[in-house]
């Protein structure tokens, strides 16, 4: 399904369309056909094809669906950034995932258009993105801001919860998250079962929970276990 269309117009904006629905790809192609200076140079039906074509065609703009079979659209964006792709990315999607716009913005996409957009609106968006502009409706921008607010709040709660835990409690929590029993934890860490129980009690108190399931649920919600087991792993999210 790797469609590569040669184009005579070398000056125009070269567009790669990534969507698993042929209808949508056709719609984007129609949108580009109507405009001088826009040319679809390739179509991909999944994330892997998208990465291959992005590398071989070096398009100026990639029109990308977020919901794709195999690797997701957001992952495609992340990988393209790692590969130093210079293509600007316009997301064209029907996802109602609340965090999607925020995640897309974090990864550095240039625009975000919903699939309810008209052919004209899509063409306008491609042209704007190609000129280096950002295309986000006020409403989408607001959605993303709300998500950023949630993200900041969660980060603060995580940091606060972590600061309260001693190194030993962090250690116990990490093993607890593996699903081990008190006895097993004691053995693993070379402590008495009583000591482990007292650590677990302290963890409950600090996380404001009563049961092991609640503790794990809360720790997972705050992303504590990831941070404890991989401290200092401050991976930069790749973006253009």
């Amino acid at each position: 399904m790797l469609d590569v269309m040669p184009t005579g117009d070398q000056q125009g904006v070269r567009v790669l369309v990534v969507d698993d629905h042929p209808m949508v790809r056709t719609m984007v192609r129609l949108a580009c056909d109507e405009r001088n200076g826009l040319a679809v140079v390739g179509e991909a039906g999944n994330g892997n094809e998208a990465l291959e074509l992005a590398a071989s065609l070096r398009p100026d703009v990639i029109v990308l669906d977020l919901i794709l079979p195999g690797i997701s659209g957001l992952e495609v964006v992340g990988r393209l950034a790692l590969e130093d792709s210079t293509a600007r990315i316009l997301v064209l999607t029907a996802t109602d995932e609340k965090t999607a716009v925020f995640e897309a913005l974090r990864l550095g996409v240039s625009g975000y258009v919903e699939k309810t957009a008209s052919v004209d609106e899509i063409a306008d968006a491609i042209e704007a993105v190609a000129r280096g502009e950002l295309v986000f409706s006020k409403e989408l921008e607001r959605q993303a801001q709300v998500q950023l607010g949630e993200f900041a709040k969660r980060a603060r709660e995580t940091a606060r919860a972590l600061a309260r835990l001693t190194p030993r409690e962090r250690q116990v929590l990490a093993v607890l998250a593996e699903g081990l029993s008190t006895r097993q934890i004691a053995k693993r860490l070379g402590l008495s079962a009583r000591t482990v129980e007292s650590h677990i009690g302290n963890i409950y108190e600090k996380l404001d929970v009563r049961t092991r399931v609640q503790a794990l649920y809360r720790a997972a919600g705050l992303g504590l276990v990831d941070l404890i087991t991989k401290p200092g792993d401050q991976q930069e999210r790749g973006r253009q």
């Binding site: 974090r106 950002l134 709300v146 949630e150 980060a155 603060r156 995580t158 600061a163 001693t166 999210r237």
Partner: protein, 236 residues
């Protein structure tokens, strides 16, 4: 104290009023903001403060009022700076919305403000109408980022993530020791303050240096303050 400007005809009855407390070291800025805010029928300024301490005092006095909102200028300097104040308000007055305010701020300052507990950020270069609208939204506890291009969201989110990750690096005890060290105390003094031996303090400090990638006390304190692990002037 109220300096409301009545614009004939624009007053709509029974609007919920947002009571703004302005915090900015510059009185000219406060006056300008007051004029702008009090020109709106549903907004008013109920207090002004030039320092963090004044701001907390003002909020304590007004705390029972409905519809309070603190507008905190990030240019507030000194040991108890704007970020410190944001954290204090968040801790002491959790129900009062806080909007950070700055001019030509960078993504790092904004992410710091949000991580410390601001409900939003408004750039002073925003258009007056947008600025006022941001205050209204902030009062409803909506997240606002006014006057910033949308592609700033990525660096801001990354900055917040880094604050969180760094907080994971130090334990509570280590943070405590570093906070006291930031007051300029010797290891012996830190030890007697916290009731531990000097030797224990130095061991902790070396571990802190290693974790923060610093090779001196000053370097560690600077790194920790920058990333919000400790706040200068804070009593923990």
């Amino acid at each position: 104290m109220k300096n409301r400007i009545d614009r004939g005809g624009s007053a709509r009855p029974s609007l919920p009023v947002v009571n703004v407390v302005l915090v900015d070291p510059l009185s000219v800025v406060r006056s300008g903001l007051r004029l702008l805010i009090c020109g709106e029928p549903d907004l008013t300024v109920v207090g002004e403060a030039a320092t963090a301490d004044e701001a907390l005092e003002t909020l304590r006095v007004l705390a029972r009022r409905a519809g309070l909102l603190a507008l905190v200028g990030l240019n507030l300097g000194g040991q108890r700076d704007g970020y410190w104040l944001i954290r204090e308000i968040r801790e002491s007055f959790p129900s009062i919305p806080v909007i950070a305010c700055g001019a030509n701020s960078d993504a790092i300052s904004i992410s710091r403000a949000l991580f410390f507990g601001a409900d939003g950020f408004v750039d002073k270069t925003a258009r007056p109408g947008d600025f006022l609208h941001a205050i209204r939204r902030g009062a409803r506890r909506e997240m606002v980022l006014e006057g910033l291009p949308p592609d700033w969201m990525a660096p801001i989110a990354d900055g917040i993530g880094r604050h969180r990750d760094r907080a994971a690096v130090l334990t509570g005890r280590e943070r405590e020791i570093l906070t006291v060290a930031a007051e300029g105390l010797t290891s012996r003094q830190i030890g007697s303050r916290l009731g531990v031996r000097e030797r224990t303090v130095t061991t902790h400090l070396f571990r802190i240096y290693r974790k923060l990638g610093a090779d001196s006390r000053v370097g560690a304190i600077a790194a920790a303050a920058r990333s919000g692990i400790i706040t200068m002037g804070a009593r923990e």
